[in-house]
């Protein structure tokens, strides 16, 4: 199977890549792991006229600790490399758990950390994960760099604030606060398949087991990954009782997501899933935080 014809460029440096992107403008497209772009092209859903392949740009593939205890991940780092990395396992076990739910190892061996974010699939794990972890994104273009908060990055299904001549270069994850528990919950028909509804959450507790911060990110239930605000509003400063969590879960399911009806389920059913999963995620995260 061969996609529609296109021009192909394989720069070996960021500079070269940015030159090419500027030159091509709207007709150019970044090719990262290709695990979303090439199936779309084979299926004739995407027809770029020129590809700028970043696979030979070695300087975009790294995982570096930051001084504050967080991590900086280069956009071309393969999902499986992030998943197996010792530092990531130490500092962000929830990220590892999340990545394990992306497709299968074979796909994660090709798919890139930044590619999944730039792709902005509303059913994808990593956009939700970086919302949850409050990441900062480094965006490069020929005219320089700019930093975008994860919460400002996604603007719709498969849409981000990236301009055609820009590339996502790095994702910086601030450190997790001490006594933070996290949980990943999803309902999907297949273990490696896209979820019908999914929730990732973190809960940080203070010394007296009250909630310092509760974060809940949702995906597959709206036009893009979502960060719910109600959980923190209700739970911050409180002891996370079953009743409070139930109230939050019900509210999020009703008001803070927007699942449509599609082949994977009706809206009514998927709101129910959000309700159940938010509850389970928060209860689990609280338990993890106490460990």
């Amino acid at each position: 199977m061969k996609p529609a014809p296109f021009d192909y460029y394989a720069p070996t440096s960021v500079e070269e890549a940015l030159d090419k992107l500027t030159e091509l403008g709207y007709s150019g497209k970044v090719l990262a792991g290709g695990q979303s772009l090439i199936p779309a092209m084979n299926f004739r859903m995407a027809r770029p006229t020129a590809l700028v392949d970043l696979n030979k740009v070695k300087e975009l593939s790294y995982i570096k600790p930051t001084a504050d205890g967080g991590l900086a991940i280069g956009t071309m780092t393969r999902d499986s490399v992030v998943e197996d990395d010792i530092l990531v396992n130490e500092r962000f076990p929830i990220l590892v758990n999340t990545i394990k739910h992306i497709a299968h190892k074979q796909i994660r061996n090709r798919g890139t950390f930044g590619g999944a974010i730039a792709h902005a699939d509303p059913a994808a794990q990593l956009p939700a994960a970086i919302l949850l972890l409050d990441a900062n994104l480094k965006v490069l273009s020929k005219s320089g760099e700019r930093w975008v908060k994860a919460t400002d990055f996604f603007i719709g299904p498969f849409m981000t604030v990236l301009e055609p001549e820009e590339m996502l270069a790095e994702v910086v994850l601030p450190p997790m606060a001490p006594r933070t528990g996290a949980s990943y919950q999803q309902v999907s028909r297949q273990k490696g398949g896209y979820a019908q509804a999914a929730v990732i959450s973190t809960v940080t507790l203070d010394g007296s087991d009250r909630v310092k911060e509760a974060r809940v990110a949702l995906f597959s239930v709206g036009e893009s990954a979502l960060l719910a605000s109600k959980p923190n509003q209700v739970l911050a400063g409180q002891v996370p009782t079953a009743e409070a969590i139930e109230e939050v879960a019900a509210y999020v399911a009703k008001n803070e997501c927007d699942p449509g009806t599609d082949i994977h389920g009706t809206e009514e059913y998927r709101r129910n899933l959000v309700h159940v999963l938010v509850r389970r995620a928060l209860i689990d995260a609280v338990q993890q935080a106490k460990k």
Partner: protein
């Protein structure tokens, strides 16, 4: 452009096109082990190791391999050597069709390189990106564990054991019983009481302790090694000079008349060699289902028509220099459609005002085209209404089974070309080469004698290839261009334009007495055949045959109405109507048992048929005539015993097991279903085999039987090896080439082991007789008491001569003669295999998710000629059936567009989520089959659906009468309760 890579350890320069996939580039470079099963990275068949990591090549551009190291299975072994991983796959029976095997072998390599001591979970995870439609992943996982042990240098246990008692295999006197007059068996002279005949003189090699040497043993499949090594064995694994690529234009509308087609722009495109539409080829009416002559009606298709009846229906076909040009040309065809309204629900299709799908005047044998009525089937036995009136209770309900897609990983593919004798060669992935040749001839205007159909290895069929689906189009293009033409479906076309299981609404009415005796069964069916009537009559009949055979009753009635709808046609699919019928039957039986207060297992045991029982419905419904059918062998009760033990049926009564205190939202339950199938179509199915002896005492065997990955070549070779007293490796088997091999109806109706195996046994007996006569001459003795074993012919006095010496003597020394034999076999009996299916479920009461941790099936298939391939069938079949139960079902929008067009949306079980699957073989001896064999391939499709539904009821008290049991339906059921 040029790329440089290390390919299987060698520095290699490849010329690639920058916009082609690595998959295409590798195959062009002769790396045939890399397979194509989709275009979206979802099946895993195209995987290679890149820098040691498993990656899909269909979603990677060829230039991206530049500078990398690529490894495929071709690099793992040489001629005469085999890598331990490949060896483990062959030894454990992990290779069925073998289409996914190279990818699985590479996945194993990547795993073991990283983890020398993999856990079962690691093994499942490693295989999770490779969809296997055949094995159920049980044996591949075992192969990984064995390979890891081998690579750690550990001693691994030999794969052997098995065999069946000689006295049963050969009779006490060494006489074969195949083809004996069967009604005698019914009079008590059955194979099973041979043991009591103390007065019979034993043949010299038959003692109560001795076992068969080849039959009944888990022999390695004869094609396993080449498949594990990724040899070019499949249809697409050749390169023909000048080959053109075909592409179909299919209908975007569910129902439309073609006012006009303009192909001028397409024809003008450089590199296009032919564009065919209904205007270019003769209009010949046919039915595409691969069945015996004369094909069952209706005959309602033509190769290209001026009307389209479903989204995906054929409009035109193009042949061009490259696939890209062909695809571009297709887009340049202008079609003027008059769009017509569609009807998608078979329950609406017969109503006044519904659009008439087949209004063409020349269709043959549609009973009422104006009402979209394709066929009506009726059968009765005794006065059903009278018996209902006598019953204490009468139960009635309707059950629905979905449109499941065969989803063999190798798509439909055909390559046609003229040979040097100007005969048309059709190299095609088919289950029915002989039917295909006969059906193709009139469509293309060539006599049968000018067509040769070759069936290479098939990458799975499951009924999807019991169809003459694309051969006609490729052939027309070769006729139009005089060039070789290759036509392959994309995965998307497999969903839009191939065949599928007939969805059915099955209503059962069952009359019972309060003591739990079933008295009367009434079954009525509404079947949805889609836009064409392929297999519609026979599939509906089989649903009735299976629905009304399993339990004894005093009266039976069957009625089926089959309707056209504007959806992709249904066709043959493993089980062939039985899973549809058995779903309704086995759920209503469960409902009745609960309602009457019986244990559902005991209720089944009480009412099921047993040895000696008459199967009255088969004469009323059977395709093959009016021969009365009886149960000659039946291990059903033993199947219940074994499987119930294995699943721990008594856990149902343990409240602590049913609710997990750690996970209070989870409920557990167990379900059971009885399974009974058929073996071949009595009085109709026939297969032939021919055997010739070579100088070294080996044998060439030609059979028409079509091994589609199930292992039939192996089973046939085992039957012959046993009969001729040689080893399996002495049999060189060649199957299914209409020029070379005897006729066979093909691989369907669970018939191959029984029918083709029967012909193999008869042919081998002819050869055995010739060998014995020759050996007797050499040894200067009589043939009396002479037998073949251990590659020797033994005289009664114990002296022997080797088969090689017999062959040399016969071919070269005196009275020169080619020792050979040809035979065919047809049976008037269709002995039913039996099975007991058990399923364990966990239901999440908050989300409706149903997880199946474990499935157990015990099967009585008579003698399992090869217990490894037989259990492989049972494991893989159960997982396919679980797909239909839990996740697989094609859905359509209101215009007739199928919603699932790729594996990601059409959900097939993958290795990491597949349950623990157990297959138990319960041996019986079927007197009408070769070495006591019955069928095994289809029966595992029958019980999983109802057992899942019954287990869900057991867990949460919600009765689901519709498959698949999508979580939302379960959740709604819980809400409504």
């Amino acid at each position: 452009m040029n790329i440089h890579l290390k390919l299987n350890g060698k520095d290699t320069d490849l010329v690639v096109i920058q916009d082609e996939s690595l998959l295409t580039a590798l195959r062009r470079a002769g790396i045939w082990s890399v397979k194509h099963g989709c275009e979206t990275g979802e099946c895993g068949a195209c995987s290679v190791l890149m820098d040691g990591k498993l990656v899909p090549t269909c979603v990677m551009l060829a230039p991206q391999a530049d500078g990398h190291e690529i490894e495929t299975v071709e690099g793992m072994s040489e001629i005469n050597t085999i890598h331990p991983i490949q060896k483990a796959f062959t030894e454990m029976g992990a290779v069925q069709c073998g289409y996914c095997t190279p990818a699985m072998v590479l996945a194993t390599k990547a795993l073991i390189n990283k983890e020398m001591y993999p856990t079962l979970e690691d093994a499942r995870d490693a295989l999770s990106s490779t969809i296997c439609r055949c094995t159920g992943y049980v044996k591949p996982v075992e192969a990984i564990m064995r390979a890891a042990a081998m690579l750690r240098g550990e001693e691994v246990p030999p794969i052997d054991g098995g065999g069946i008692p000689m006295e049963i295999a050969f009779g006490l006197t060494g006489e074969s019983d195949l083809g004996r007059d069967l009604p005698d068996f019914l009079k008590g002279d059955s194979g099973s009481d041979l043991k009591t005949k103390k007065d019979v003189k034993f043949a010299p090699w038959v003692t109560p302790e001795s076992q068969t040497d080849v039959v009944g043993h888990p022999e390695i499949k004869v094609d396993a090694v080449k498949l594990a090594k990724g040899k070019p064995a499949f249809t697409d694994d050749i390169n023909l000079p000048g080959m053109l690529y075909a592409e179909m234009l299919t209908s975007p509308h569910g129902h439309a008349r073609i006012r006009n087609i303009d192909t001028s722009k397409a024809k003008a495109l450089q590199g296009v060699h032919a564009v065919l539409t209904y205007k270019d080829i003769p209009r010949v009416i046919y039915a595409s289902g691969g069945q015996s002559w004369p094909n069952p009606k209706p005959w309602d298709q033509v190769s290209l028509d001026n009307k389209v009846r479903f989204v995906g229906d054929r409009v035109a076909v193009v042949a061009a220099e490259t696939p890209e040009i062909a695809r571009a040309a297709v887009k340049l065809i202008d079609v003027d459609y008059e769009v017509l309204p569609v009807v998608l629900d078979p329950r609406e299709a017969g109503k006044p005002g519904a659009p008439v799908i087949h209004d063409e005047p020349d269709a043959v044998g549609i009973p009422d085209a104006s009402r979209n009525l394709v066929n009506v089937v009726d059968a009765v036995w005794n006065d059903v209404d009278k018996v209902f009136a006598e019953c204490d209770r009468v139960f009635e309900n309707t059950y629905y089974t979905p449109k499941q897609q065969q989803a063999h990983i190798e798509p439909h593919i055909t390559i046609t070309y003229w040979d040097e004798d100007e005969r048309l060669v059709v190299r095609t992935s088919t289950q029915v080469p002989f039917h295909a040749r006969r059906m193709l001839a009139p469509l293309i205007g060539l006599p049968v004698k000018r067509i040769r159909v070759i069936k290479p290895r098939i990458g799975g069929g499951f009924g999807g290839k019991q169809e003459m689906l694309i051969e006609d189009l490729a052939a027309h293009l070769t006729l139009a261009t005089n060039r070789p033409v290759r036509l392959e479906y994309t995965r998307e076309q497999e969903f839009t334009s191939s065949r599928s299981r007939h969805p059915m609404y099955v209503t059962f009415k069952v009359g019972v007495m309060n003591d739990g005796t079933i008295r009367a069964l009434d079954m009525s069916v509404i079947s949805d055949t889609g836009a064409y009537g392929s297999h519609s009559l026979t599939v509906a009949s089989v649903s009735g045959l299976r629905g009304l055979s399993t339990y004894k009753a005093d009266a039976l009635r069957f009625h089926a109405d089959i309707y056209y709808t504007n959806k992709a046609p249904a066709g043959a699919f493993r089980g062939y109507g039985a899973p549809q019928g058995m779903f309704g039957l086995e759920v209503i039986i469960d409902e009745i048992a609960h309602s009457l207060g019986f244990d559902p297992l005991e209720f089944r045991r009480k009412n099921a048929v047993n040895v000696g029982d008459h199967i009255p419905i088969s004469t009323a419904l059977g395709e093959g005539g009016t021969i009365e059918q009886y149960v000659l062998s039946c291990g059903l009760q033993e199947c219940f015993d074994e499987a119930a033990k294995s699943i721990q049926w008594e856990r149902r009564n343990d409240p602590k097991w049913r609710v997990d205190p750690e996970r209070p939202h989870i409920r557990r339950g167990l379900g059971v279903a009885t399974c009974m199938h058929g073996t071949a179509i009595p009085g109709l199915d026939m297969g032939g085999a021919s055997i010739k002896m070579n100088d070294d005492g080996s044998f060439n065997v030609q059979v028409g039987a079509t091994d589609l990955g199930t292992g039939s070549d192996t089973v046939i070779a085992q039957i012959i090896a046993e009969t001729l007293g040689c080893r399996l490796e002495d049999i060189i088997i060649y199957s299914s080439d209409t020029d070379m091999t005897p006729f066979d109806v093909g691989a369907y109706a669970s018939s191959t082991t029984f029918i083709s195996g029967g012909s193999a046994k008869k042919a081998a007996e002819i050869v055995r007789k010739q060998i014995i006569e020759r050996a007797a001459k050499i040894l200067k003795t009589t043939t009396e008491g002479m037998y073949l074993r251990n590659r020797q012919a033994y005289a009664a006095d114990g002296r022997s001569v080797s088969l090689e010496a017999v062959a040399l003597n016969s071919l070269h020394t005196v009275d020169q003669q080619q020792i050979m034999g040809t035979a065919s076999f047809m049976s008037n009996y269709a002995p039913p295999p039996f099975g007991a299916q058990f399923v364990e479920v966990e239901v999440d009461t908050e989300t409706g998710m149903v997880r199946v941790p474990r499935m157990v099936m015990a099967v009585d298939c008579g003698t399992a000629i090869n217990p490894m391939t037989a259990s492989g069938q049972i494991e893989g079949g159960q997982l396919q059936a679980l797909g239909m139960a839990i996740s697989e079902g094609m859905e359509y929008d209101t215009e007739g567009n199928v919603l699932q067009k790729r594996f990601g949306d059409y959900r097939i079980y993958e290795a990491d989520e597949a349950p623990d699957i157990t297959a138990i073989l319960v041996p019986t001896y079927e007197p009408s089959g070769p070495y006591g064999a019955k069928a095994v391939a289809e029966i595992p499709m029958d019980g999983v659906g109802p057992a899942v539904s019954n287990a869900i009821f057991d867990a949460i008290g919600v009765r689901l009468r519709e498959l698949p049991v999508l979580p939302e339906k379960v959740w709604k059921g819980i809400q409504e309760k």
